[in-house]
């Protein structure tokens, strides 16, 4: 049951709406090799343009990403307005197939600031906090502009180009007693600083520190709960404990050596993380990936979707107290890993995709392995339906709990199963088919109520659809090379290296320094296990990325927790956390 979204943007296009509301026109339009219209507007025009977009496109316009670029060391800016920092708003219309727009606002070097758009898109809250934290760009009228990924005691803004990236750029670390006391002090919980009251009219509240270490927060995640008995009055999530500076590392690793880092972002998604990254690099480099490599990528990505969803399914059941399903599902996941290990040699973090293709061709006998799995899993999934989904206690614990509407989902930037559970059949594989998804048949499962139960049901059905996709891949695997014949393919094709000196030199440089990707900006999105995963890369014509932006689905999803948890019991919050399907590495990067 798909909700149809009517949007005037369908006829007008987002760029037209923006130009209507700009009396003086754009500062500039920037050609981008990913084909997304990129418009520069002045800081003063931001609020009116955003308000107009929000009003005109009704419910179907999602703020996909909000980030910044430190432009101060960038050389190839051909024609872009003068700026020390650029704030980038990426908007995507869910109603039309490809209507999206990137709005850029140039800012000066001293005290850069912009008005907040939290009142238009509530989901912008954490994104603006992240930009403040990592770039030091201030947002006026933001309700709660605090650091989000780094600790409150951090000095500097890590993603600025003048902030150190390596431990060796700093004096050796030592923890003095004053320093320790100061850090301890910063951790002290003060309800008023978190926007909570200590007392109601007739009682005192209890504050419960759920996490960062708690069996059901799926990683290092902290939620401060304001409780009245076991009922939650307010909940404030605190993230950043898993922050490892993945974006900053992108600026120090070569284009090729960054691939293994992406694996660890959504650590249950494996090659799902390589996928948008290599696609973005390939867009920058202009590489066309051969069909066999595309099909292998899709097949592996869907295998990882199943593996990830199985973990979700099992841990979800465990979160509401059912002990056994997780063991059965991990057994199935082991089989998926058996296949992945046979193909990639690794299990959770294969780093298997390469710029221009995949690392190697499929091994002998791969087909039999996968077919046996395809034949076995559906029966087991049916069994799990009886065990979990039809269990009356499980239904009582998940039905009607943590529900949100499609409109809310879009306003908060929810994608993936969480969006589809509200009834909107929006899947990035269908919205803008990448790789070879346009040649594959699959349904988009949806829910109706957007509650925990529907989110789980959508996950379960997605596994069946993934099996369908994998079967089509196995049946129709094209022959041919698994790497593009392109000078920037990394590692470069080796066949001719020993025959002529040019190829040898190319190969040598490409392997030792890494490929030099032409200047430009590109983003690539995929439907990852948990929602839309987007990599936006800025190349300044070097061997490393100038700016690597990772937009992860879980970051947006966790923001909704306060909205979902007011007035419910702790046990319900645990069910909601389980049903959101997040991993903290995917949130904190």
């Amino acid at each position: 049951m798909a909700t149809t979204l009517l949007s005037p943007a369908r006829e007008q296009g987002l760029a037209d709406i923006i130009s209507h509301h700009l009396p003086n026109g754009f500062l500039a339009t920037q050609p981008a090799c990913d084909g997304v219209p990129t418009l520069w507007i002045a800081a003063a025009d931001l609020r009116p343009v955003m308000a107009a977009l929000k009003a005109s496109a009704a419910i179907s316009l999602m703020l996909l990403d909000l980030t910044a670029i430190d432009e101060r060391q960038r050389t190839h800016r051909n024609g872009q307005p003068q700026a020390a920092f650029t704030v980038v708003y990426h908007l995507i219309s869910l109603a039309t197939r490809t209507d999206e727009v990137r709005i850029k606002v140039p800012l000066g070097a001293t005290a850069p600031a912009l008005p907040s758009i939290c009142d238009l898109w509530p989901g912008a809250n954490w994104y603006e906090r992240e930009v403040w934290d990592l770039f030091g760009i201030h947002f006026h009228n933001h309700p709660d502009l605090r650091r989000i990924l780094t600790p409150p005691t951090w000095t500097g803004h890590p993603l600025r180009k003048d902030h150190h990236a390596r431990a060796t750029e700093m004096p050796p670390y030592s923890l003095t007693e004053e320093h320790e006391a100061c850090e301890q002090d910063a951790m002290r919980f003060d309800p008023s600083a978190w926007g909570m009251r200590r007392h109601s009219d007739h009682s005192d509240f209890m504050f419960l520190n759920l996490g960062p270490n708690h069996p059901s927060v799926h990683g290092v995640f902290r939620i401060m709960l304001q409780l009245e008995g076991e009922r939650i009055v307010d909940a404030v999530p605190d993230i950043g404990f898993h922050h490892r500076g993945a974006e900053k590392m992108g600026e120090r690793q070569s284009w090729h050596t960054y691939i293994p880092y992406t694996d660890r972002v959504d650590y249950l998604g494996g090659v799902m993380n390589n996928f948008p990254y290599v696609m973005a690099v390939e867009t920058l480099a202009g590489i066309t990936v051969p069909p066999r490599a595309q099909m292998i990528r899709v097949m592996l990505a869907e295998l990882f979707r199943i593996a990830s969803h199985l973990v979700f399914y099992g841990t979800m059941a465990q979160d509401v107290g059912q002990l056994s399903p997780v063991f059965y599902m991990f057994t199935d996941r082991e089989r998926v890993f058996g296949i992945i290990e046979a193909i990639c040699g690794f299990r959770m973090h294969p780093a298997w995709f390469r710029i221009g293709g995949v690392a190697m061709d499929l091994p002998e006998g791969w087909e039999g392995l996968i077919r046996a799995f395809l034949d076995d899993l559906p029966e087991r999934l049916d069994e799990y339906d009886a065990m979990v989904m039809r269990n009356p206690i499980f239904r009582a614990r998940t039905k009607g709990i943590g529900a949100y509407t499609t409109t809310e989902a879009i306003e908060w930037g929810v994608t993936g199963p969480g969006l589809r559970a509200t009834g909107l059949a929006w899947d990035y594989r269908r919205h803008a088919p990448y790789a070879c998804y346009d040649q594959l048949e699959f349904d988009i499962p949806t829910g109706t109520n957007g509650d925990c139960y529907d989110r789980i049901a959508v996950h379960v059905e997605e596994m069946r659809q993934s099996l369908r996709i994998i079967r089509q891949c196995v049946d129709n695997m094209p022959a041919g090379p698994v790497k593009a014949d392109h000078p920037l393919t990394t590692p470069p094709p080796k066949a001719r290296t020993m025959h002529d000196i040019e190829t040898l030199i190319h190969h040598f440089l490409s392997v030792s320094w890494g490929p030099v990707i032409p200047p430009g900006e590109a983003r690539a999105s995929i439907e990852a296990t948990k929602g839309v995963n987007t990599y936006t890369l800025v190349s300044d014509g070097g061997t490393t990325s100038y700016r690597t932006r990772i937009r992860t689905p879980s970051f947006a999803h966790l923001q909704m927790i306060p909205l979902l948890s007011r007035g419910i019991m702790i046990a319900d919050l645990i069910a909601i956390l389980g049903s959101i399907d997040f991993v903290m590495a995917d949130v904190d990067r």
Partner: protein
């Protein structure tokens, strides 16, 4: 006091504690079997000595009392838990001759009283820990106790009415013809649910609720004090199983095998059923459990009492 009675009194707690310890191993092996994994299988034959190894480890662990805890009560709580369970066994008649006080004339009331006291262990542990998770666990235990104590007592009234006695010997004797599980099937079902709630086992392990409260009421406990809660829980399973055997499954009665064997067999089946429940069911929310108790099980047990009374009166007249 005769020599043999004294011997029984010493022996019974030792046997119960030994059984509870073995039960930890049995449960882990069975869960392993049902969950497609091994479970402990390295120490001793079939991993049987794992329980011994764990017991030894827990004995030698640092016995830490958090500085913020209410010391006296904190120490008392696990002792209460252990004591009430062990004392309850005094009135369980294994056979006609085996058992300490099997023919106590208020045997059943004594067990109910001890079970009621047992809740104090959990509530006091949660309270004295002075920690929020433990407090929430203790609070849940109190709420759970209020809901199930009422219908647990009522569900047993049917048995008492049919046997005409609170004496457990008499109750077993009254089952000479047909086991009470047949005429009292409703009471049996209700008592089973109450029994699970009493032992804080999944699906009614809300005071512990590890996915929600970390470890609930015993969050702050470590070493042997934790061990006592742990063993008391398993001893509680043995207790409830043997009670079910006595009240509904005809106690030691059965053909061919010696009476003690029958008792052990029936109790064993009940214990395994308890473990199977843990392997298969999720945990309801605690307001759902209370609603179940007050809105369904309480009326059901009242109905059972009325029906039993009516039938008994009709038969008598």
């Amino acid at each position: 006091m005769t020599y043999s009675a004294f011997f029984t009194i010493i022996l019974t707690p030792l046997v119960i504690l030994g059984l509870a310890t073995v039960l930890t191993w049995v449960e882990r092996r069975l869960l392993g079997l049902w969950q497609d994994r091994y479970g402990p299988n390295r120490v001793g034959p079939g991993g049987m000595f794992q329980a011994v190894a764990d017991g030894t480890k827990i004995l030698f662990k640092q016995d830490w009392i958090p500085p913020f805890a209410d010391r006296g009560v904190f120490i008392l709580a696990p002792a209460i838990g252990m004591m009430t369970v062990l004392l309850s066994f005094a009135v369980i008649p294994v056979t006609m001759g085996m058992g300490i006080a099997g023919d106590m004339n208020v045997g059943l009331l004594f067990v109910l009283g001890m079970m009621g006291l047992g809740v104090y262990a959990v509530v006091l542990a949660g309270w004295s820990s002075n920690s929020k998770y433990a407090l929430l666990g203790g609070m849940r235990a109190a709420a759970q106790m209020i809901s199930y104590e009422v219908f647990m007592g009522l569900s047993l009234l049917g048995v008492v009415m049919m046997a005409g006695s609170f004496n457990l010997h008499d109750i077993v004797a009254a089952q000479a013809g047909v086991w009470f599980i047949i005429p009292q099937c409703l009471g049996f079902g209700v008592f089973m649910l109450a029994g699970i709630a009493q032992t804080h086992r999944l699906p009614f392990d809300l005071p512990e609720g590890e996915n929600e409260l970390g470890a609930g009421f015993h969050t702050e406990y470590s070493g042997m004090k934790f061990g006592m809660f742990f063993i008391a829980e398993y001893a509680g399973i043995v207790l409830v199983s043997s009670l079910v055997t006595t009240l509904y499954l005809g106690g030691w009665r059965g053909p061919f095998l010696p009476p003690a064997m029958w008792f052990a067999l029936k109790t064993g089946v009940m214990i395994i059923f308890f473990i199977l429940l843990r392997a298969s069911l999720p945990r309801p929310r605690y307001d759902q459990l209370m609603a179940l108790g007050w809105k369904i099980l309480l009326p059901l047990s009242l109905l059972n009492v009325m029906a039993t009374g009516t039938i008994l009166m009709l038969r008598a007249s």
